[in-house]
């Protein structure tokens, strides 16, 4: 059990990992609590889109959502961020979740409006899918897997 716990701690520290999926791409995100896992999933999403080290935190957007269950809420949260990013060309790099309970989320997201040519962009992510979606609680924390359509 010790080993599992250590492993979990290491993963939480890492925040997220990129998953392989033949046609698309996904992430596994970790956290000691559900807020952290939602933050890390969002961070994983934007790390697939751009080199986050180069991104400033000069714009802030607030996100407020509710859904019928936690898994749907996670997808809606990620899709809301994708929507804002697509419309406003913002890459977010930090997330403060002020409330996450009863299948509702209220969060502040910080990032920068990107300009092609000025930032190292990787790819468009166009949707978070329900495919293989799983939020699991294990010894030492939460884990989610999300596949994105690109």
């Amino acid at each position: 059990m010790e080993a599992t716990s250590d492993h979990a701690v290491r993963r939480v520290k890492k925040g997220f990992e990129v998953l392989d999926h033949t046609a698309d791409i996904g992430i596994a995100a970790y956290g000691t609590d559900i807020k952290e896992v939602f933050c890390n999933a969002a961070l994983g999403l934007f790390s697939l889109m751009a080199e986050l080290d180069d991104i400033k935190e000069d714009v802030q957007r607030e996100v407020k959502l509710s859904a019928e269950d936690e898994e749907v809420l996670l997808i809606e949260w990620l899709n809301e961020l994708i929507y804002i990013s697509d419309v406003e060309h913002i890459i977010f790099k930090r997330f403060e979740i002020d409330e996450l309970a009863g299948n509702q989320i209220r969060a502040r997201c910080f990032g920068e409006e990107i300009k092609p040519g000025q930032h190292k962009v990787k790819r468009e992510i166009k949707a978070a899918t329900y495919h293989m979606l799983r939020i699991s609680k294990s010894n030492g924390g939460y884990e989610v897997k999300v596949i994105f359509d690109i």
Binding site: V18, L19, D20, H21, T22, A23, D24, I25, M49, A50, V72, N79, Y83, D86, V87, H89, I114, K115, P116, K120, V121, K122, R123, E124, K126, A127, T129, Y130, H131, L133, I147, D149, I150
Partner: protein
């Protein structure tokens, strides 16, 4: 991922059946077009399970089909075809995919390899500057709310009216580039907002513009009907779809369908197969919104066609007439269409879901343009950027067996991560350069993800559909210059 160990019965060298008894709940058997070697790779992931899952959909007729470019998708496999009765069946946004009317358009030219080769860098640079691509790129067209509704209703017809491209282009576009039944009221404000700045953009991922050289012609007469006259001739292939707008339409309606599945008591083996009866409000609303997204995509390819022609004219100092830059055809390969098909001698109205599959109607079919009535509908099958693409035509056999459908491309073999670990973007560019292929991309990092090695060889895919008789190959072309979004 575990290997798929389900039951697969060999029908012949190119056809394999998943029996209806494989999984309780399957309403029809599955049918997979592949050769033995391909099946080994296909079984390494769970795409055949998805073929079996699609067979659960209410109203499905014939078989749940998979083309040889099958790979693992969400809910539906990519390369999947499902024919569903309109009277008592369902429509599933997952059976169309996120990128509604992702498709391919082919243009021919009077130019040959010797004329284009010395200018390929200049041409690719001009195309890259003229056609916005990549993350965060914005189109050169600004459409307001009212005009957006016109784009969604009239598709490529709107573009031609605005001066993008020629009226003749419409005749050789599936649905003439304007799908009926589009209702912009059924498209959310969010979807429209995502679509507004992206009109006339290529996007990223596997979307591309490719300058190609005709390398082989298998049927001179049919090729000639398409304006493909000789080996060495230069073609232009455009591959893109409905951008953020299509994704938002899919996402919006998947959420609605999630509720519909419960309301109508539909039992499904996978959440991503969410669907609603075609005749229900949810089903009708999706089809009306899907048609809008399809029209947006056709308008998109129409605008890109116009700018590509401008680049060719500028670089070669020739008029469009001198260039002979006519459109060969434009196909949708992610779409659901209401079509009439014969089942046991009776004509039945069906909703044909083609997700990573191409319509392949035979000579004489009423929906084949006049120009191709005698030969059949052109089918455009792009390969990966380092190898080759095919032009094929639809057949009577496709009509009888696959509801007039065939494959759509190479199909991925390797995940993006695996491709990237195997090679760096810069190496891919160098390898292509060594083959004489010029490539330009807005993201060198993602170039590795699209390396040849990440895809099945499209030649094998096309060979299976050709041998099985569901489309007939006409010509093959290989790339000289590529723009990757």
């Amino acid at each position: 991922m575990p290997r798929w160990e389900g039951q697969l019965n060999k029908i012949d060298d190119y056809r394999w059946e998943i029996p209806q008894t494989y999984k309780p709940g399957m309403r029809v058997p599955g049918l997979v077009y592949a050769d033995e070697a391909m099946l080994k790779t296909i079984k390494e992931e769970q795409s055949l399970e998805q073929v079996a899952n699609v067979a659960f959909l209410p109203g499905i007729v014939g078989r749940s089909m998979a083309m040889p470019d099958i790979h693992w998708g969400y809910g539906f496999p990519i390369g999947g075809v499902a024919a569903i009765r309109v009277s008592d069946g369902v429509v599933s946004p997952g059976g169309v995919g996120y990128d509604i009317n992702c498709g391919v358009r082919l243009l021919r030219t009077n130019l040959n390899e010797d004329q284009v080769k010395p200018k390929i860098k200049e041409l690719i640079n001009s195309l890259f500057a003229n056609v916005p691509s990549g993350l965060g790129s914005e189109g050169k067209i600004r459409v307001g709310d009212k005009e957006m509704n016109e784009v969604l209703t009239n598709g490529a017809h709107w573009a031609v009216k605005r001066g993008f491209g020629l009226p003749e282009d419409l005749e050789v576009t599936e649905e003439t580039g304007r799908m009926k039944g589009a209702d912009p009221e059924k498209v959310s404000a969010r979807a429209k907002k995502r679509g507004a700045p992206q009109s006339g953009t290529l996007g990223s991922g596997n979307h591309f513009l490719e300058v190609q050289i005709v390398r082989e012609i298998y049927d001179q007469a049919s090729a000639k009907a398409m304006g493909i006259d000789q080996i060495g001739q230069v073609l232009l292939l455009i591959h893109t779809g409905s951008r953020g707008l299509g994704h938002q339409v899919c996402d919006d309606h998947l959420r609605i369908m999630e509720g519909a599945v419960r309301r109508y008591g539909i039992s499904l083996p996978d959440r991503q197969l969410a669907c609603a009866p075609i005749e229900s409000d949810e089903g009708k609303d999706y089809l009306a919104a899907m048609a809008c997204a399809a029209n947006y995509a056709w308008a998109n390819r129409q605008c890109i066609t116009h700018w590509a022609r401008e680049s060719f004219a500028k670089v070669f100092g020739k008029s469009l007439e001198e260039l002979g830059m006519e459109q060969v055809y434009d196909v949708a390969h992610n779409i659901a269409k209401i079509e009439e098909h014969s089942i046991d001698g009776n004509m039945v109205t069906l909703c044909i879901h083609r997700k990573g599959a191409t319509r392949a109607f035979p000579a004489g079919h009423k929906d084949v343009p006049q120009r191709y009535k005698g030969v059949g509908q052109p089918v455009l099958i792009p390969g990966d950027m380092g190898r080759r693409s095919y032009v094929a035509i639809g057949t009577d056999k496709a009509m009888a067996e696959t509801f007039g459908s065939t494959c759509h491309g190479a199909g991925r073999l390797q995940s993006r991560g695996a491709a990237k670990r195997a090679m760096r973007g810069a190496d891919v560019a160098a390898e292509l350069a060594a083959k004489g292929i010029t490539v330009k991309t807005s993201s060198i990092g993602s170039l590795a993800e699209e390396a040849s090695q990440a895809y099945k060889d499209v030649a094998q895919v096309v060979e299976v559909t050709h041998q099985a008789g569901i489309s007939r190959k006409i010509a093959m072309a290989s790339p000289l210059g590529v723009i990757k979004g």
